[in-house]
Amino acid sequence: MNCESATKLVPLYFYGELPPEEEDSLEQHLDACAACAREAERQREISVALDRRAVQPSAALLAECRHDLMRAVYRQEAPVLRRAEPGRHPSWAAALIPQWLPSLGAWRMPLGASALLALGFAAARLTVPGAGGPASLASLTPDVISSVRSVQPAHDGSQPGEVQIVLDETRRRVVNGKLNDANIQRLMLAAAHDENNPGVRWESVDLLKSHSDSSPIRELLLNRVAEDPNPGVRLKALDGLKTYAGDPEVRKVLAGVLVRDDNPGVRIAAVDALTAHADDDMVGFLQSVVQKEDNTYVRRRCAKALQDMNASVGTF
């Protein structure tokens, strides 16, 4: 080994990144060459100096980062859409769905309408302050929120240097009420369809699911589990439907979720809910899922359910 190649290897030697044979050769060279040995020593000194520059983030900074992150996760940044787009379902899903499911569009229309009605209700109630509304809506706190729509130089005829700013203003109101209040429920049904805010949908579904004995709320949950673009919301809705997993309509929707949902976590929850109520009619369906499901974990859950039902996992 010559000095030039030794110089090149010294940093890697120092970081323990040389293969054993190169390390041996270099060490032999360093034993014999004072100049390269000095170079290695310089490298070590620089490394020690660099070590002293290392900083350890404070515990307070780490705690703040954790707090901010989890707040964003829970409140604002629920998982974004990983929903299957139309046509993205595997072809086998399309083959299974017609046998098991009515069109899910049937859930969309009435719920879309109920959301509009609820919004209409909210608008009517909330734009007439002090008009003798129900007691549960008595606490209304107005607040105006502005956002800048456009900024441009002012029109001809105005003073030089003037600008025109167009603001969009939204009036915010705070509504307090009990969850079993029908009016509050209607507002929340509407909120559960707010397509721009998955966090609001998630929280609305989470609160409403404990009232799934109410027919409109159960319809909402069926709609959300099948249609919500956010897997977190779908899981919450599914959670609220568990106690009704023996109901034929609920089972049809859950079977559709198992076949069509692109999130394995949601599919697993659907399997669990369906198999919690053993039903021999499901054997063929579950066997098909085992054959065609691409997620190992979901497949295993279905296979386990079949075994628990004393059914064969495969089809013959």
Binding site: P57, L69, E77, I268
Partner: protein, 205 residues
């Protein structure tokens, strides 16, 4: 020198927590599992961001952006590589973006000149050095300034490889995997970085 960060993190997860199980739970939408997963790695991620960017504000932003990206895209994690590698790909990409933007804007050096002398903006952090020795503090400040100058002369990629090897203790093979390049390319990058550092800090006393 820093210990192997991946090993340290792995040790923190076992035997109580099974990482693959946690990841699958997050993929099923379990936010508590996500929090546990974050806690297994967040210290090393924050340390990387703080050391690389020398700014608490930027490090906070990187931390949040990186873990939110993990949260949003964990469905696409297929266990083709270790979670550590996957996470660090995300973190290093974000940090490289920050470094490149800074390179273009040439903004916010960690050590700034003030009428009272050079001031290291990182002095707010907990340092390993002794606190009450004025001579040592002065030496540290001067040394810090020179080291920052030397690190500032590296390209963002050289800076990243150097940070991951020297401070985070990752192996070059793992660094190559994280940065989407070969071990050989990472090795060359580290060599260039050390040569540049050597040129600037060669006369260090």
């Amino acid at each position: 020198m820093a210990q192997d960060a991946a090993g340290a993190v792995g040790a923190r997860l076992t035997p109580r927590l099974d990482e693959a199980g946690l990841i699958r739970a997050v993929q099923r939408g379990d936010q508590d599992a996500f929090e546990q997963l974050v806690r297994a790695y967040d210290q090393s991620v924050l340390r990387l961001a703080v050391n690389l960017l020398r700014s608490q504000e930027d490090a906070r932003d990187v931390f949040q952006e990186a873990f939110l990206r993990v949260y949003r895209s964990i469905d696409s994690f297929r266990f083709d590589c270790s979670f550590h590698t996957w996470l660090y790909r995300i973190v290093t990409n974000i940090c490289l973006d920050y470094l490149r933007k800074r390179k273009v804007r040439k903004e916010e050096p960690a050590v700034v000149d003030t009428p009272e002398g050079p001031l290291d903006r990182m002095n707010d952090f907990e340092e390993e050095a002794a606190h009450a020795d004025p001579e040592r503090n002065m030496w540290n400040r001067q040394l810090g300034q020179r080291i920052e100058g030397a690190l500032g002369g590296l390209t963002p990629r050289e800076r990243m490889v150097f940070e991951l090897r020297h401070y985070q203790g990752l192996r070059l093979r793992n660094i190559g995997e994280i940065l989407g390049t070969s071990e050989e390319a990472a090795k060359n990058c580290l060599f260039r970085a050390t040569q540049k550092m050597r040129a600037v800090l060669g006369d260090l006393q």
